[in-house]
């Protein structure tokens, strides 16, 4: 039930009480709520869970994690 998928924001609408965004989920455009991530910008990837973006995906951290995993295995 805690499934969340990384998906890119292609548009944002400043609705009340919470902003909404358009994302493409599995090829289909969907409206999601930015109630939990109002700081998200167009172009950001967010983790979408039950129609809400619960977190912004940080591209720099993603690269650092991959680099760290590669480093972890460098001493075999």
């Amino acid at each position: 039930m805690c499934l969340a998928i990384p998906t890119q924001i292609i548009a944002i609408e400043a609705t009340s009480p919470f902003p909404q965004a358009t994302v493409v989920l599995e090829g289909v455009e969907r409206r999601i709520s930015l109630a939990l991530t109002p700081e998200a910008q167009v172009g950001d990837y967010v983790l979408v869970h039950t129609g809400y973006a619960i977190s912004r995906v940080d591209a720099v951290e993603a690269q650092e994690t991959l680099a760290m995993l590669a480093e972890m295995t460098a001493y075999q």
Binding site: M1, P6, T50, Q76
Partner: protein
């Protein structure tokens, strides 16, 4: 897909497996890790990680399946609520087939005429409330810290838009108290915990600091791709071998140490912490979220009081022991003989995140 494919790199996965095997080579017994989250249980089976690590690491499924840990008594309440005149009960899909007491389900209630709607999002339930202003629409709030903020946001939105016929039945549960209950009971020996990724996106990786501090056990927060899980497992194995338990965050791209402050503020605005009943763990203090007194007008537990007979668990079902890691699905006498995904007796076989459904779908060695 971006942020997915890079975390499925087979060459790096093989190297991580090699490193885990190297670190555990001199050990007499496998390192025992509990994956809290049912999503991790399924990912580990789906990507074949259990076989890859066989003999080096043993993965034990934990209570991180909201449907599985919903007590039969709470299901009975949801079913009774669905049968209240005019009520539309909106629920996430995997709740409709979960048996309460006396083999009742929401699906069976719907067949008898109750209006039960499956929704993807609480926002869909809000849409139902707009479309049916004369009928009460109740969102069945099932889920952990990942899901509860969305329910809170929908309630706030209903308030702003003055949608008066929208309420929620909160059966939400908090994950750290369940982890404490399992470790406190002490009957399942564990070397480390794979922390739930999307719960931690909300509560933060720091929320697991009590694991090394109070229980001397390591925790690695992980995402749901093979490299996420293998990285977390490698970190936990190293912590075990070196005897230095810490909290590691292997899901930095989605999880901050402090979590999501906006989501936490919204949770705190709508809910307060209270006792919750867990299948397998019983009533745990401070482990559930109930609506605050200011939200009584949207609290379905108050709006639709129901009288119920005492709850009964499905006879023979071992789900309660399975969610706390005491039993494996294969230990259950019903597993695969009478309990299957087509005809589930207990919730661990119904939910996509349930350990029984995972073993049934992916494991070949039962």
């Amino acid at each position: 897909m971006k942020f997915i494919d890079e975390f499925r790199d087979p060459a790096l996965a093989r190297r991580l497996v090699g490193q885990i095997r190297q670190m555990t080579a001199s050990r007499a017994a496998p390192v025992r890790l509990m994956e809290f989250c049912g999503g991790h249980t399924h990912a580990a089976y789906r990507f074949g990680l259990r076989e890859l690590l066989d003999g080096a690491v043993e993965l034990i499924s934990g209570p991180g399946c909201p449907v599985c840990v919903t007590a039969a008594a709470d299901l009975d309440r949801a079913i009774a609520l669905a049968e209240w005149p005019d009520v539309i009960l909106a629920t996430f899909g995997d709740m409709v087939r979960v048996p309460g007491s006396r083999v009742q389900t929401l699906q069976a209630a719907r067949a008898r005429g109750a209006d039960v709607r499956v929704v993807y999002s609480p926002l869909d339930a809000l849409t139902l409330a707009r479309q049916h202003p004369a009928r009460p629409v109740v969102m069945l709030g099932v889920g952990f810290e990942t899901t509860a903020p969305g329910i809170a946001a929908a309630l706030v939105q209903a308030e702003t838009e003055r949608i008066t016929n929208f309420s929620a039945l909160s059966l939400h549960k908090l994950t750290p108290p369940a982890m404490r209950a399992i470790l406190g009971a002490g009957d399942v020996p564990l070397d480390g915990i794979i922390g739930p990724g999307h719960v931690s996106a909300v509560i933060g990786s720091d929320a697991w600091g009590f694991l090394p501090r109070e229980y001397g056990i390591a925790c690695a927060v992980a995402g749901f791709e093979p490299l996420d899980l293998l990285g977390a497992i490698a970190g936990l194995v190293r912590a075990t071998v070196e005897g230095v338990p810490v909290v590691d965050n292997l899901y930095m791209r989605g999880v901050r140490s402090e979590g999501n402050p906006t989501a936490l503020a919204l949770l705190n605005r709508v809910f307060e912490v209270g006792t919750a009943k867990w299948r397998g763990l019983g009533a745990l203090p401070d482990s559930g979220l109930r609506l605050r007194a200011e939200w009584a007008h949207r609290n379905a537990a108050r709006l639709f009081p129901v009288t119920r007979e005492p709850a009964r668990e499905p006879p023979g079902c071992r789900c309660g022991d399975i969610v706390r890691g005491r039993s494996a699905p294969m230990d259950c006498p019903l597993f695969r003989r009478v309990c299957t995904p087509e005809n589930p007796i207990g919730p661990c076989m119904v939910s996509n995140e349930g350990a029984c459904a995972a073993v049934f779908q992916y494991a070949v060695d039962f």
